[in-house]
């Protein structure tokens, strides 16, 4: 009963010393702002990475990319050896491969009358929709016959629609890719921006045969995505595919691969490394800044205890027990750090939103970060209050009143 009186009294006292309270709040304010920022950006980045991995691999698939070496880190050997024939051979010899789609692309100018855009043009097969999981929201993908006869048909992304058509109807219209006229047969499902900042809606999909013959004049492809049976172990398929490709490319035993095989598990490894940075090291840095804030609060509070010796002595004289004094100083430190923490959450959230918008990470969910921030500032506040509270409680009333 009278503990509640003491608690509300202590809270009221802090409002009367705005400067002191303000300085004490700054430490946890900055610390929690940093913590909220990195945790919420980290979570958003992680979610975006998972989304990307899902877009790339779906449930069970692997990718073959022209050129050897590693995907992440280390130089890649240049290679222009991968051909559609290679993929056909793999599909024929490896029974687990259910479907596959070759890919070749270039970035070039696209025009319609006076309107122009620079877009990523991807050559793909009629199986593209199934393999990549990206459908057409209007019209439809070209069929096998269109690929065989190298038809000049194109599916365009929403950004391309906006750039070249505005409010006009794109379906059936003619556009020029490079100097080659194509007919628009479909609009691609919106795909958003990938973590590299690439606008995936600024893409055009055309039959790969048309692209190779008319636009790139090359017989090699940059890569292919293979869908495998859900029951198949992707990692165990790497070896046979490697053998087929090495044989077809005529590589001697001592020569390195001139292609790369990327499985979901390999991507998971990279993602785990990124996740470690996002969810461990960055919050650790933020936690250190929160710790520094706690030390600032503690030292300010110790100074405040010395300065308020008279007040402490008086409270003892009018009946405060050592426990009452300890409680008061604990409450003061904890309440200021939590208040600073709450303000820090708001700042951290605003910064996280700004950062996420700049990095195309989509919305940030502040709740888990906010909860962590409040919890952390409460713990830091209690810890920071322990020493000053002990010191205040141990002060002899006679000395304090002198």
């Amino acid at each position: 009963m009278n503990k509640m009186r003491l608690i509300s009294h202590s809270a009221g006292m802090m409002g009367r010393h705005k400067l002191r309270t303000g300085f004490m709040m700054i430490g946890s304010f900055i610390g929690v702002a940093a913590l909220t920022l990195v945790v919420s950006v980290g979570l958003a980045a992680e979610r975006e990475l998972l989304k990307l991995a899902h877009q790339m691999f779906g449930e069970s698939s692997l990718m073959i990319i022209d050129g050897g070496g590693h995907m992440m880190g280390g130089p890649r050997n240049p290679g222009t050896r991968l051909k559609i024939d290679d993929l056909e051979a793999i599909a024929k010899q490896v029974p687990e491969v259910e479907s596959w789609d070759p890919q070749q692309g270039l970035t070039t100018s696209v025009r319609r009358g006076d309107l122009a855009d620079t877009a990523q043009v991807l050559g793909e097969s009629d199986r593209s929709e199934h393999v990549w999981g990206r459908s057409a929201v209007q019209g439809a993908y070209f069929d096998d016959a269109a690929v065989k006869s190298s038809e000049r048909v194109a599916l365009i992304g929403q950004t391309v629609v906006n750039q070249l058509f505005g409010n006009e109807e794109p379906m059936g219209a003619e556009i020029q890719i490079g100097s080659v006229p194509f007919r628009v047969v479909g609009i691609l499902e919106p795909w958003g921006t990938d973590p590299h900042g690439m606008d995936r809606d600024n893409e055009i999909v055309v039959p790969i045969s048309t692209l190779m013959r008319r636009l790139t004049n090359a017989d090699t492809i940059t890569g292919a995505k293979l869908l495998v049976a859900p029951s198949a172990q992707e990692d165990q398929m790497v070896k046979p595919i490697e053998t087929i490709l090495r044989e077809r490319h005529g590589l001697a035993a001592n020569q390195p691969n001139d292609f790369s095989i990327l499985t979901a598990s390999e991507v998971r490894k990279v993602m785990a490394a990124i996740k470690r940075i996002l969810s461990l090291y960055l919050p650790m840095v933020a936690a250190i800044s929160l710790l520094a804030g706690g030390i600032v609060s503690a030292s300010l509070m110790v100074a405040s205890v010395n300065e308020r010796a008279g007040e402490i002595g008086l409270r003892r004289a009018v009946g405060a027990r050592t426990g009452d004094i300890r409680l008061q100083f604990l409450i003061e430190t904890a309440a200021t750090t939590v208040a600073g923490g709450v303000a820090g959450i708001l700042l951290g959230y605003v910064l996280a939103r700004m950062g996420a918008t700049k990095m195309h990470l989509g919305p940030v969910a502040p709740w888990s970060a906010a909860l962590l921030g409040i919890l952390a500032s409460f713990v830091v506040g209690l810890a920071a209050g322990l020493l000053p509270a002990r010191r205040a409680a141990r002060m002899s009333p006679v000395d304090a009143l002198r």
């Binding site: 009963m1 009278n2 009186r5 003491l6 009294h9 006292m13 009367r16 010393h17 008279g310 007040e311 002595g313 008086l314 409270r315 003892r316 004289a317 009018v318 009946g319 405060a320 027990r321 050592t322 009452d324 002899s396 009333p397 006679v398 009143l401």
Partner: protein
């Protein structure tokens, strides 16, 4: 009320020397007395006051308060005694800054186990003539008014014993007179008051004067005709 027997207090200074602040002090104060303890600074009167107020413990001797030996009291029990039985008034008022007169007066109630505290602070302020100043802050009050707030704070838990350490030391003549008038009024209504001062004029308002020198009580006599402090209109 108060029974001191052979009280001694010895401090050890940081350089290792020990100082005898009180030497063999015996003193008996009955219920309803108004006693001044006088002496020069360093004579031990403040140390005696701290022991009387259970803020300090004697090195030797016994102190019985209301018949109870205080040596056996735990720290928590001592705090409860200070809260309920003893009211303190200090030379420098010790009011919390930026805090209203009423909240200052209510401070001892924070540490009391009373279930209802409503109206007690206001009543105490009215009893020292400050009923119209309850929301003023210390910085908005004169020295005399601040000391009266401090007296109201000492009274709020209705203790029987008031201990005042140089209560008029920081006040002008008129304010000092007002404060003494309040003390005399409180004494008339039955409270026991022990007041430390170095001012003979102030001491003459009390019924009895104990003089201290170098840690000992050297004189203890009744005042034949105590001065009456008149409560003047504000």
């Amino acid at each position: 009320m108060i029974e001191l027997n052979g009280i001694a207090k010895t401090y050890t200074q940081p350089d290792g020397k020990s100082v005898n602040a009180l030497i063999d002090v015996s003193l008996q104060i009955d219920d309803g007395e108004f006693v001044a303890i006088v002496g020069t600074s360093g004579s031990g009167k403040s140390t005696l006051m701290n022991i009387l107020g259970l803020l300090d413990v004697p090195s030797a001797g016994s102190y019985r308060l209301r018949g109870q030996d205080t040596a056996g009291l735990a720290a928590g029990a001592q705090a409860q005694w200070r809260n309920k039985q003893i009211g303190f008034v200090f030379q420098t008022f010790h009011l919390l800054p930026r805090t209203s007169a009423l909240e200052n007066v209510e401070l001892p109630l924070l540490y009391s186990d009373r279930s209802s505290i409503r109206g007690l602070g206001r009543k105490a302020l009215e009893s020292v003539g400050l009923g119209d100043r309850i929301s003023h802050r210390p910085s908005e009050l004169s020295g005399g008014q601040q000391q009266r707030v401090a007296i109201a704070r000492a009274l709020v838990n209705e203790p029987d014993l008031l201990l005042a350490d140089e209560p008029t030391g920081n006040l002008d003549r008129q304010s000092a007179n007002e404060v003494m008038a309040i003390f005399q009024g409180l004494n008339r209504s039955g409270r026991t008051i022990v007041l430390v001062t170095h001012d003979a004029e102030i001491a003459n308002h009390c019924q009895r004067i104990a003089r201290m020198e170098r840690g000992r009580i050297v004189a203890d006599a009744r005042v034949t005709e105590p001065k009456i402090a008149l409560q003047e209109a504000q």
